[in-house]
Amino acid sequence: MSPISIIVLIVLVVLTLVQVMRISEISSEIQKGEDNEVSPKDNNTQGRLMLLVGFGFVISVLVMYVAWGRLSLPEPSSAHGAEIDSLWNLSMLIINIVFFIVQPILFYFAYKYRGKKGTKATYYEHNNRLELFWTVVPALALAVLIIWGLNVWSTLMMPENEEEPILVEVYAQQFNWTVRYSGGDNELGYATVHEIAGANILGVDTQDPASADDIVAKELHLPVGKPIQFAFRAQDVIHSAYFPHFRAQMNCVPGSVTNFQFTPIITTAEIRQNKDVKAHVEEVNEIRTAKGEDVWEFNYVLLCNKICGAAHYNMQMDIIVETQDEFDAWLKEQKTVAETL
């Protein structure tokens, strides 16, 4: 911040405050006698406002669900995604039930029991039964969520595979992504930051025989229906590989390799026909044409979701999910490490 601007600002604030003070001094002359105690009239207005604004809030939440529900991500494009979404839906159902019961009660009580002259509150200290009740009920609901949640979590993180997954490395650096396919041997050659030089941006050790058939690319192509085992690396700071459409995310941490596995189940071509996606694209393109920008064609994307520096907001890579044949054809066109380095 520039120091002069701060000084100017402080002066301005002081000046306004002095002016406002003058005005309200005059106005308080007028309404002398007001002693700032809460009167029954205040209780009436404030109690009514509680009811009005409180219910207004609850209703506006409903309105938001209706108006913005469409903004949520489309149906999951990974095999495990459906599990996550059903767990999400159940959790949302439970918390919304609680929300739509508790909030109205809160605001209603505030209104109903607003202070009135001559009434006295009921002395009501505790009630063990009642308190036990609202300890046990949340505990039961949570037990369901915990058990189901842990189940989903462990199948996600420790998947059992019928076929051997394809090994793909996702490599993060400020501010872009690179991928490396393991080639025919399905084994990634050793790589280290110490080998980074020139075109070898991933630091692949060319001495390692496993690296010869590795393929480095700037677009993530995935065959549909095949489990993909991702290995994540980062060279400078922490990044996070976020695949929102696949309900997948994993941090990329310098100095270590992290993993995540998922199976894409919807190809890019298919998802473009999804009606929610179509509506989304249409809406976006209306906005874009109005602004004179290029029209957008839906693609899966990989985003960076851990603050990593100035261009963090624009660290992305397209993901293309295609049939096995298309995938094989694409892969064949790519050069191997042995060919490029």
């Binding site: 911040m1 520039s2 601007s5 405050l17 406002v20 309200s24 002693d35 700032n36 809460v38 506006s60 991500l73 599990e83 996550i84 767990l87 439970i94 929300f99 009580f109 029991y113 202070g115 009135k116 006295k120 509150a121 009921t122 002395y123 505790h126 009642l130 308190e131 609202w134 300890t135 949570l142 949640g149 842990l150 989903v152 993180m157 650096q173 400020q174 994540f232 060279q235 400078d236 996070s240 929102p244 995310q249 994993m250 941090n251 310098p254 100095g255 270590s256 809406e283 874009r288 957008w296 839906f298 985003l303 979701n305 851990k306 603050i307 520096g309 100035a310 963090h312 907001y313 624009n314």
Partner: protein, 599 residues
């Protein structure tokens, strides 16, 4: 124990009489050791920092609503960081970072706990002052110094720290990674180190005072819930802040001495750095070992304040006093074993993730108990809508709204897809940010007469409340939907991804709410300062409350009570007790003949 304390207190009083007139401006207002004045110092400093923090949020909200557009006001405030009025991405991140740091630590930790623990602990337990007035003053001065350094860091050449308020290395450790990780980050670490020292001094003092200096009859089960909350908060602070201190020191070593605690195998700026063997995730464990308890360090005092305000203004005992104490203790205990829920996707062992999911969701149980007990306290009350009461009710609302989404985020399987999105921003602002700010406002409106001997203006209080309540939900509730659309947080602009283009309108809407809400705080600031000098004189017990602070005279005295320290005969919640003439019976009133005391 308490008898000797009372004797000591009375001795203290004689002592005071002799020296009464030696005070000058400096000893009275600046280098004071009086807990009431120190409380006010924390409040004013916290408010000043709050103004800076909120103004920063206005600037970055403007940017995020109108990305990469030119606003002269940005150039005016940010100078070279907004050439031609267009904010630099590094400055966006710096503003977000310092905003978070200021709000979490300087406003809602020091400004909230520091103010009200200092003001209320001696007054409500019946003590003449804190156990150590000197340590207390020192605690403020460390905080003050750390605030000065944090503000100074805004002016360094390469800009202030910008790696997020959590300052994860390597981003925060390497000046090559972003300009903010240079001198700005060094100042950030120095400032936080001083902050922690100050906070530890304060917390130790609060604990010792509550344990040792309660007046006669003030058993632990008669303590007002405010004091319980302050005590547990202080214990949390003493146990967790040292861990952050070590985290910060190790980070400083990595930055300045070339050690490798957090760094390993890094290639940046065209070269391989010589760090090896460290782990960036280690930092996250240390950070969140404080970080999660920290959210309760922020929240518990606000819950304590609202318990007091809600009981007083419902003219009813707080419902389930023991359950309220129990849930504070349960929350505090659990808060130490849930930190991993911030790290589900760092590649941690999946089994560990399961454990953290389990412990995290357990916290919802004591939280639910608290929420229901508040609501039952309102039931069949005779509610007096003071501005403090309005803010306390709003706190219950935000605590429920935000706590519920915690159930989603705490579930590791669900967190995968919303981690670090706007869904998280919505969650923690509502449950922690808003609840704690509301608690703080409630505290200021409620105890202003105790602090300044005058009343704040009621009508301005109402206007402030309604504008704040409406705009705050308007800002944070829609963010859930942004998060569910997959929008990551800490993005300078959302224009790089066409898939987010249809969220732009919501971002504009949020910014409108933010600006109106920010402007509404001017009403509060004006009301506050105006009332200090011009508010109507307060009565001794304006809210007709039971706790001991209202038995002190309006004029502040060193030592609080002109005569003996009152003796306590009952708990703080005998409101509308059957058989009593008035609808409140202060704690120092002896039991009437035949009257039963539950506490």
């Amino acid at each position: 124990m308490s008898t000797t304390t009372t004797e000591k207190n009375n001795h203290f009083q004689d002592h005071l009489m002799e020296h009464h007139h030696e005070e000058n401006f400096f000893t009275k207002y600046i280098f004071t050791m009086d807990h009431k004045m120190i409380g006010k110092q924390f409040l004013i400093t916290g408010m000043f920092m709050g103004i800076i923090g909120v103004m920063m949020s206005m600037l970055f909200r403007l940017e995020i609503a109108y990305p990469e557009q030119s606003f002269p006001i940005l150039e005016f405030f940010l100078g070279k960081w907004a050439p031609d009025g267009i904010m630099d991405p590094n400055m966006y991140l710096a503003l977000v970072t310092i905003h978070g740091t200021i709000m979490v630590f300087f406003v809602l930790t020091a400004g909230l706990s520091g103010t009200f623990s200092n003001l209320l602990i001696p007054l409500q337990i019946g003590a003449r002052d804190m156990a150590s007035g000197f340590m207390n003053a020192l605690s403020y001065w460390f905080f003050f110094l750390s605030s000065v350094i944090m503000v100074a860091s805004l002016f360094v050449e390469a800009g202030p720290a910008a790696s997020g308020w959590t300052v994860y290395p390597p981003l925060s450790a390497l000046p090559q990674a972003m300009p903010g990780s240079g001198a700005g980050m060094t100042l950030w670490l120095i400032s936080m180190t001083l902050f922690i020292v100050g906070s530890l001094l304060g917390s130790l003092n609060y604990i010792v005072t509550v344990i040792n200096m309660r007046t006669k009859g003030m058993s632990m089960t008669r303590l007002p819930l405010t004091i319980w909350a302050f005590l547990v908060t202080a214990i949390l602070g003493v146990l967790s802040f040292p861990v952050l201190l070590s985290a910060a020191l190790l980070l400083m070593f990595d930055r300045l001495l070339g050690t490798s605690f957090y760094l390993s195998d890094i290639f940046i700026g065209g070269e391989v750095l010589s760090y090896s063997g460290g782990s960036p995730v280690l930092y996250q464990h240390l950070f969140w070992f404080l970080g999660h308890p920290e959210v309760y360090i922020i929240l518990l005092p606000a819950l304590g304040i609202s318990s007091e305000v809600i009981a007083t203004n419902s003219r009813k005992p707080i419902f389930g006093y023991r359950a309220m104490v129990g849930s504070i203790l349960a929350i505090a205990f659990l808060s130490f074993i849930v930190w991993g829920h911030h790290m589900f996707i760092t590649g941690m062992n999946p089994f560990l993730g399961s454990v953290f999911t389990f412990t995290t969701l357990l916290i919802a149980i004591p939280s639910a108990v608290k929420a229901f007990n508040y609501i039952t306290t309102l039931w069949k009350g005779n509610i007096q809508f003071t501005p403090a009461m309005l803010f306390s009710i709003a706190l219950v609302s935000t605590f429920v709204t935000g706590g519920l989404t915690g159930v989603i985020l705490g579930d590791s399987a669900l967190d995968i897809n919303v981690h670090d999105t706007y869904f998280v921003v919505a969650h923690f602002h509502i449950v922690m940010g808003l609840s704690a700010i509301y608690g703080m406002f409630a505290g200021v409106y409620h105890w202003f007469p105790k602090m300044y001997g005058r009343m704040m203006n009621k009508s301005m209080g109402y206007a402030h409340f309604w504008l704040t309540f409406i705009t705050a939900y308007g800002v944070f509730f829609p963010m859930h939907f942004l998060g569910m659309a997959g929008l990551p947080r800490r993005y300078y602009s959302n224009t790089a991804f066409p898939m987010f283009d249809n969220l732009a309108d919501i971002n504009v809407l949020i910014t409108y709410f933010a600006i109106i809400g920010g402007a509404a705080q001017l009403i509060f600031i004006f009301n506050f300062f105006y009332s200090i000098w011009r508010g109507p004189k307060a009565k001794q017990n304006p809210w007709r409350a039971n706790s001991l602070e209202w038995t002190t005279p309006v004029e502040h005295l060193h030592g609080n009570w002109p005569g003996d320290v009152p003796v306590v005969h009952r708990w703080a919640y005998d409101y509308s007790k059957p058989g009593a003439e008035e609808d409140f019976v202060p704690q120092n009133v002896p039991l009437a003949e035949g009257e039963e005391s539950g506490h």
